[in-house]
Every structure is written in C-alpha cells, then in structure tokens.
Amino acid sequence: MNVQQKIQKEDSMIMQKEMIAGHFENLARATENGKKVVYTFVPGNLNELILAFDMLPVHPEVNALQSGMRKMSGDYIQEAEKFGHSEDVCAYVKCDIGMMKKGNIGPTGLPLPKPDLLLLSYTGCFTFLKWFEILKKEYDCPIVLLQVPYQAEGKITPEMRDYVTRQLEEVVVPALEKVSGKKFDRDRLKEMLALSAQAEDLLVEVWNSAKNKPSPIDAYFGGVFYIGPIFTAFRGLPECVDYYKALKAEVNYRIKNKLGPVTPEGELNDQKYRIVVEGPPSWPNFRDFWKILTDEGVVMVASTYTKVGGLFEDGFRHDPERPLESLGEYCMGCYTNHSLPARVDILEKYIKDFSADGFMIHSIKSCNSFSAGQLLIMRELEKRTGKAGVFIESDLVDPRYFSAANIKNRLESYFQMIETKRPGA
C-alpha cells in the first residue's frame, strides 16, 4: 500500500471524525451561543426539521454507543443500577442515565447541554417511550411525542401517513416554533431535504458497492462509520453531501483497484467469506469483534443495523415537494419499524443480491426491538436461501455480556462448516 492510497482512504474517516467532534463542540457551547437543544432518537429522526429551526440535536443512543466504544459504559450502567434500574432492561437507557448522573459529560469529554425540548419520536422501539418519561423527570423542559405507526402489515397505509403528517403539522412543528421562538420556514426545510436526498443517493451507491468482489467496503463494522453523518446531526447540510461524495470517491478507487475495505488490522483484500449481518454491534468490544472476523477473512457485505436510521435502497428519498409527508415516511421506514416478515424479506434479498456465503445474527440482550424473533428469522432465512446462519449473543454497551472466547469459538466452527459446504470441498 503506498502513501497516496493510504491518505485517500482515510479522507472520509477524518472528515467524519471532524464533523462529529465539531457537533459536540457546538453542543458544549450551545448555551453561550444561544442555541436551543433538542434531545431526540436516531431511528427515523427529524434532523432537517430541527435544523430548520436552528436547533441542535442530541441523540442519547449515540452518546451511549460512544461511551461504549470508549469503555465508559460499564461504569455508567452500574451507576444507573445503583438508582434502582434493573439489570434486565436496555443498557442504552442505563448508560445514558448513568452518564447524566455523573455530570452529563459527553463522549468527547465536553459537557452536554440540557435539553430545551424532548422530541420523543416513538419509532421502532417501545423503550423510547420509557426512556423519555425518565428524562422528563430529570429535566424541566417540554416534551412532545410523535407516534410513528408500526408497519405491521408490511406497508405504509394512507392512514398511517396521514397520522404522522398531522402530528408533524399540528403537534411537532408548533412545539418547535414555541421553543425556538422562530416561525416554521418551509422553504428552508425543502432546501435541506433536497440535500438529504443527494446524500441518500450517494449512500445507496456505497452500500451497493459491496456487490463487487472483493467488496470495497465492510457494510457492518465500516458501515457504522458511514452512517454517522446521515443518521445524526448532518443530514440536510451541504457537508453531509460532501462527506458522501468523498466516501464514494474512495469506494470507487477501491473498486477500480480491486481493494478491500480498511480494517484496524489493515486492508482486507483476501476475502474468504461474504456475510450478511443482522443486529447491532457490541460497542465496548467493537474492535475485538471486528478482529475476530477479520482474522477469519470475513467481509460483511450488507447489514441491517446500518439501516436503523432508515432504508434508502427501497427507493425512499426525502422529497422537497412533499416535505412533511416525506419526513413522516422516513420515520416509518426505519428498519426496526418493519414487521418480522418484512425483515426476513430484507435479509433474504441481501443474502441473494450480495452473493453472501451465509449470515450472522448478532443478538443483543438490550434491544428487544431487534432481538425478539431473531431465532425465527434465522430459521426462515436458512429455509429460504439454503445458506447457513450463525447466532451469537452479547450486548450493545454492557461489557458484562460479551464473551470473546465463546463468540470466537462459535464463529470458527461456523466458518469451518461454511468451508465444508462449499462446492468442491
């Protein structure tokens, strides 16, 4: 690998890190800069709408996962448990509460501002309701609920669309106007949505690049970095589009030169297994987990976790001509808002479209929204695709539930089995 290649590959990563760090800096200075702050969740978020009111979003799950990656989540979780939170419940919630109880210092070491508004977008996760009920007791600020209907029948009905749009018009926008002191600027929102759609186009191209052999990306471990800008505070901004242009250029370079993705262990060019992944990563053990798979020559060619903010491969784009309606459709389209049968369909398509050798379900204790039903998903996928799956368990941010040795053993056995099933083996 020459120096030029190395620099080129790291550009988007550097950009992404600078963007995230800049956002946390802005948050730390929000009060002195007179910026209002909205706490809200990642899946199907209303980033463009928040930005259109010149407000700054805080995503509690991002703080939790960042705390996990920085090995701080274990202490935070135990802190929350001291306050009576059960060991049984979602560790993201406990990590957030523990962080708050310990001074609300964000993952970059800078303090996080208190919310001026809690925007409870209840999308794909019942625990979100509870989480913000808890936060509401901690903060003296208004709360507004956007209920996002579940796609139980595998589609968005006109009634569902109408429900979300009406809530946006009649509940959410007035709340944002009140807290921000600004009138809703529909034209500004439209401009942002046009930029969102551009970024979404680019991201879909990045995901589809994994159809190449070798895959130029790792759509799971690498993918979680790719989704940072679009699923958090940047969708709708020009820098978000710039980031995906840079990323796309790097990916194109790798395709042209038949290079694999950059991993912490170096470039993964010798790709022995192409795997589709269902479920979030274990953040405190992210590097260890990635290494276990890299050592086996595994590249993740598609994943569902990277669709947790929203799916774009099905054609959805934010639409400036239908601003609130398309925001509503976005909210309803995030991965965990899809029914179990639809999730099986999505995974089946990934396995086929990305020529996968198999699939891995990483089942995490914290998230019933993801995890309940995954064993049935596994059976269905094996039945439909004839590909074998592997089921491993740990947690999002609770380090007590990650057993590297068990996971390694299970994965090694799994890949041996894949090997024996290969034609000509």
């Binding site: 419940v89 509870k130 179990l340 309940a372 064993l375």
Partner: protein
C-alpha cells in the same frame, strides 16, 4: 351458589390449557373466537360481531415448554415462549384470529412471528394510540374500523350500532361488577381472598361476558354471606403484573405472607376504562373515546405530562393501603423501566415498597414469601408513614 363451587369452576378454566370451554362455546353457537394478548383489546367489537373474545396470557406454570424455548433467547420474558408453545402445539388452533396490542417490542415482534408461523389466520398488531389528542383519536378510529371490517368478514355478521351498543351494555355491567368486587375486597380482604379474585379475573378471559357477569354476581352474594376469620395482615397494592401473569401459587404466597392485597393490576384489560362506554348513535367513536379518556395507568401507556405514579398513589390512598409490592416479570422492559420512576414518587409520599421479579412459572416461591413477609412485618412494626 357456594363460593367453593364458583372457585372450582374458575380453577378448572384456569388449568385447562386446551380451552375446552371456548371450543364448546364455538360449537354450540356456531361462531368464531378471537384471541388477544394483554393488556387491553376492544373486546366489545369482537363480541358485537357475535364472536368470543379470548384473553391469551401465556401458558402459566402448568405448561411444559417443549418447542417454545427454541424461539426465544434466554433474556426474553416467558409469556411469548409459552404463547408460542400453545400455538405450535395446536392448542390455539380454535382461534379465528389473534390480536397483539401494542405493549412492548416483544409482543409487537410476536405478532410478526405469528404472521410467519400461522399463515392464513387473521393476525392484527393493534397499534394503540399513545397520542391521546385529536390526531391519535383519528388514527385509532381507522384501526377500529379496519378491525370491525375484519371481524365482520370472519363472523359473517354485520357489526351494527345496535349490536355494539348492546355489547357495551354487557361489558359496562361486567366492569361495574368487577369494580364492586374490588371494592368489596378492599373493605373485607379477609373474606375476598385474593387468590379467588385472581381466578375470577382470569375467568373473564375465557367466559362469555354474560356468564362471567353472573359468576361475579354469584360470588359477591356468596362471599358477602360467608364467614371467614379476620386476620392481622397489612394492606398492600401489587403493581407490575399487567402482562405476564404471576402463577397462582405466588398470588397465594403473597397473601399467606401477611399481605392483604387491596388492589392490583393483573388481567387489567377487563377494567381498563374507568368510566362506562357511552351508549349512543356513534358507538365506534364511543369505543375510541373510552380508550383515550379515563383509564387505569399502566406502564404500556405513555404519560404525556407530569403525573407519573399519581395513579398508584391514588390507589394506595383510596384503598387505605400501607405499602406497595412491585412484582415485575423478569426482562419486562415496560414494568422495570417504570419502577424507579414510581418508586421515587412513593418515596416522596412516604409509602413503603418492596420489589421482586417473577416469571409465570416461578417455582422459587419461598424466597419471595420471606421477602414480602418481612415487608409486612416491617410495616406492622414501624408503620407506613
């Protein structure tokens, strides 16, 4: 009728995991049956279509899980696995449809599993509104209208306003008697044993509403005329049991440990609305308004403003309870995430509490009994205020 006779009937219904009563009812009435999971489902709509609403609350402690465990990880509560067990063992084949009300992500995903595993049946994830304003009402009306249409198709009966109003009348009467029974227990907890009340509530999941109402009336009459010794127990409210049910042995153990349970939240769907459903010319709207209006507070229902825990405090005050027992199923996110918030309110109100977890097949009753017994003793010794 004797109390023992009524309770024996309830026990038989409780123990019958083949739902023979429902099968016989279907045969006799040549009609369908729709199952529903906790916490709340609009039973009146099913009834108005001439069908039997059947509350499915898992398999309890009498069901051996053979295949159900293969569908769920160890960290997921027990009710979905025993419900799947009931399904895959054919015990729920008699159901013409199944409703999965929005209560948590596990039950929500179970609705999708049911779609995959029991193709061809009517399966409905009931997306209950958490927005209790005009937007939520509008959405819920479309949900109810959709279900009404489906029930008409399954049953072959038109759900007329008259039929729906008639059902409201029957269920209002049933709720009224349940309230009467709960009041009676609070007044005379030594007479109305909680284990009996629990069985009577469980019977409401199975019996046709008119039959259940008669059963309640018979019990109230019989128990009012009975003689049972007074006991030196403390008065407690049990909370957290709204979905996966505690086993009967646990309910008995709580009472035997020195606690009079004077209010609870099990089988909550049969008394969810605090007011009767209005009978009139717009019954579907009345049904929606009854859900959106004055109801019990429970963890699956969003609390949009301040007031979390107020309902429980009111229960404690009105029932003159001396303490609260948090009994939450293991791995129940709604109950367990609610608990610290509510405990904080109780602490502020100087209401003592204790907490434990259970599963519907909990066998380690003795430990819990010792805990609640100690809790009762501490209240007796030091009082509740």
């Amino acid at each position: 009728m004797k109390v023992e006779t009524i309770i024996k009937r309830c026990e038989d219904l409780y123990d019958d995991l083949d739902f023979n009563y429902v099968k016989d009812w279907k045969e006799k009435n040549k009609a369908g049956a729709i199952g529903f999971m906790p916490v709340y489902a609009p039973r009146e709509l099913i009834h108005a279509a001439g069908m039997l609403p059947v509350g499915i609350m898992g398999g309890g402690d009498n069901l051996e899980i053979i295949r159900g465990d293969a569908y769920f990880q160890s960290y997921i509560c027990r009710i979905p696995r025993s419900t799947i067990e009931l399904g895959v063992s054919g015990r729920l084949d008699f159901l013409d449809g199944m409703l999965f009300p929005a209560i948590c992500d596990v039950i929500r995903n179970l609705s999708g599993m049911w779609q995959i595993m029991f193709e061809g049946k009517y399966i409905k994830y009931l997306d209950m509104p958490q927005n209790f304003g005009a937007e939520g009402r509008r959405f819920y009306l479309t949900e109810l209208a959709g279900m009404a249409k489906a029930f008409e198709k399954i049953s072959g009966n038109k759900i007329t306003p008259e039929a729906l109003n008639h059902s409201f009348g029957l269920y209002n009467e049933n709720r009224h008697l349940i309230t009467e029974l709960y009041d009676l227990r609070s007044q005379m907890p030594h007479k109305v044993k909680t284990a009996e009340l629990f069985l009577l509530m469980r019977a409401s999941n199975i019996l046709e509403v008119g039959e259940h109402t008669k059963m309640l009336r018979d019990y109230i009459t019989a128990i009012s005329n009975s003689e049972r010794p007074e006991r030196d127990h403390v008065r407690v409210v049990v909370t957290g049991t709204f979905c996966e049910q505690p086993p009967l042995t646990l309910v008995k153990a709580l009472e035997n440990s020195g606690c009079f349970i004077v209010d609870d939240d099990w089988v909550l769907g049969n008394r969810y609305q605090l007011e009767p459903i209005a009978i009139g010319d717009k019954p579907i709207e009345a049904l929606a308004d009854a859900y959106l209006g004055e109801t019990v507070a429970t963890a699956s229902r969003y609390v949009p403003g301040p007031g979390k825990g107020d309902y429980l405090v009111r229960q404690v005050r009105e029932r003159k309870a001396e303490g609260v027992i948090f009994a939450a199923p293991s791995f129940c996110d709604p109950a367990l995430l609610d608990r610290p918030m509510i405990q904080e309110v109780l602490a502020r109100e100087n209401i003592p509490y204790t907490a434990f977890k259970y599963a519907e097949n909990t066998g380690q009753i003795q430990v819990i009994k010792e805990q609640t017994g100690t809790f009762a003793d501490s209240i007796k010794l030091w009082g509740s205020q």
